[in-house]
């Protein structure tokens, strides 16, 4: 870990007041996308949507944003009902890139402009050397990634000046990761009094792909740190390796499975600090009237379910920063970054699973914390598919 010339540079300015909420807000992922917004419009018109989550970094290169979209964001922000959801920061990358510094600058500007109720990012590192073209994959859960993750979270909190959280990942290479992710997320967010987005469809994917009871996975998470829940749909991808087997993918392109609604009903009472439940779907899966109607039905079903659960007391943790001191130089770890580059290259260049396994064996990755020896063949094959979707062009 490189910490040369370390000095404290960041300090959080405590906000004047934060909403010590008692109700849970039925919310939607709301980005500047024609199909998403046309789907949401009837729900906005009937005052059903109580909160919105905006991926503020997806407008990175867009110069013109319609005034009405800003007004929509401000409308929710004024009521403490707008949350920011980052996508591209790559929180557990071993290297610090200039794009990450720019991302923080952008977050700082957006936070000043909109006053997010909280800001979140995803667990994992993003494949591909192109900052805006990759999907997050898991990392070893060890002291190196813990230190880097804590460093990055403190920088996000310093830029955003509000509560900061991290979302659990759908993808895992092997069962141990699935079992340990909840506790590791807790360790990551603890120093900044951060919180967790519990994505129930991600948990559902893990339970399907590793034959686990989803409720067993739920209780492996620090539920008192859950401030936001995500629900969504996905798809079954037939295994390329074995007949009669499918991999559950978190693709956000279909309605919410009944199992996820059932999970939501069980989980809400266990999360005393929950404030937002967000329904997500991608715009390309909201083209037809049938798709839009199904999404609207899913939202109303989610809202009815949330409202049927009585909340007895206000949230106990506002997740406001207790203190936030960070060093001026971001932590980097060249060995971790080299390993991540090697994995990205293997995933992006392998023609099939056999090729990928051969390359992994020839790399420096065996007998390291990556535990490549334990990787499930179907999940490695899925990682190849994910990485190759987002290979830099």
């Amino acid at each position: 870990m490189k910490m040369k010339n370390a000095r404290i540079v960041g300090k959080i300015v405590q906000p004047v007041a934060w909403d010590n909420h008692s109700s849970i807000l039925s919310s939607v992922a709301c980005n500047l996308d024609q199909d998403i917004l046309l789907t949401l419009l009837p729900l906005f018109a009937s005052s059903e949507i109580e909160g919105i989550e905006w991926s503020f970094d997806t407008l990175y290169q867009r110069e013109k944003i319609p005034d009405w979209f800003y007004e929509l964001l401000h409308t929710y922000a004024k009521e403490h009902r707008l949350v920011g959801h980052g996508v591209f920061f790559s929180i557990l990358s071993g290297q610090w890139k200039d794009e990450q510094r720019k991302w923080l600058d952008h977050l700082s500007k957006m936070s000043s402009r909109f006053r997010f109720d909280h800001v979140t990012e995803h667990f994992g590192f993003t494949t591909s050397t192109n900052f805006h073209a990759g999907a997050p994959l898991s990392v070893p859960l060890n002291t190196t990634t813990l230190a880097i993750g804590r460093d990055r979270l403190s920088r996000i909190q310093n830029a955003a000046q509000c509560p900061v959280g991290l979302e659990n990942l759908a993808f895992a290479y092997h069962e141990d990761e699935v079992k340990r992710q909840g506790a590791f997320l807790n360790q990551l967010v603890e120093p900044i009094n951060g919180f967790i987005i519990l994505d129930l469809h991600n948990l559902y994917c893990q339970s399907c792909n590793f034959g686990k009871d989803p409720l067993d996975l739920v209780i492996s998470y620090p539920l008192d740190r859950v401030r936001e829940i995500h629900i969504s749909g996905g798809r079954w991808e037939p295994s390329r390796l074995s007949e009669n087997k499918s991999i559950r993918r978190d693709t956000h392109d279909d309605g919410v499975p009944e199992e996820v609604f059932t999970l939501l009903k069980s989980v809400i009472p266990k999360c005393s600090n929950l404030k937002f439940v967000v329904l997500e779907q991608i715009g390309t899966a909201l083209k037809s009237e049938t798709q839009r109607t199904l999404f609207q039905k899913d939202f109303l079903k989610m809202k009815k379910l949330i409202n049927s659960i009585e909340r007895k007391e206000n949230a106990l943790n506002t997740f406001l920063p207790l203190s936030n001191e960070m060093v001026d130089r971001p932590l980097v770890n060249q060995e971790l970054y080299d390993q991540q580059l090697a994995i990205s290259n293997i995933l992006e260049s392998s023609k099939d699973l056999t090729d990928a396994k051969r390359k992994l064996q020839m790399s420096k990755l065996p007998k390291t914390d990556w535990q490549v020896e334990k990787w499930d063949d179907d999940m490695l094959d899925t990682a190849i598919q994910i990485a190759q979707t987002w290979r830099a062009q």
Binding site: S47, W68, D253
Partner: protein, 60 residues
């Protein structure tokens, strides 16, 4: 939560007139190449600029 009627009307007009996607990164590409929204004309052909599985929403 209640939304002003004037805002709803502005949204309706804006959405009806313009064409927008959730990710600004594609705007620059649009000018250079034709965007085929998630459509593979040939299975062996790489689908460049697909919006399908955008990590902004569908993390895969």
């Amino acid at each position: 939560m209640e939304i002003k009627k004037s805002l709803l009307q502005a949204m309706l007009v804006g959405l009806t007139v313009g064409s927008i996607s959730s990710c600004g990164m594609f705007d620059q590409i649009d000018e250079e190449t034709e965007v085929r929204e998630g459509v593979h004309e040939d299975e062996n052909e790489k689908c460049e600029n697909c919006w399908e599985n955008c990590p902004a929403c569908g993390m895969g």
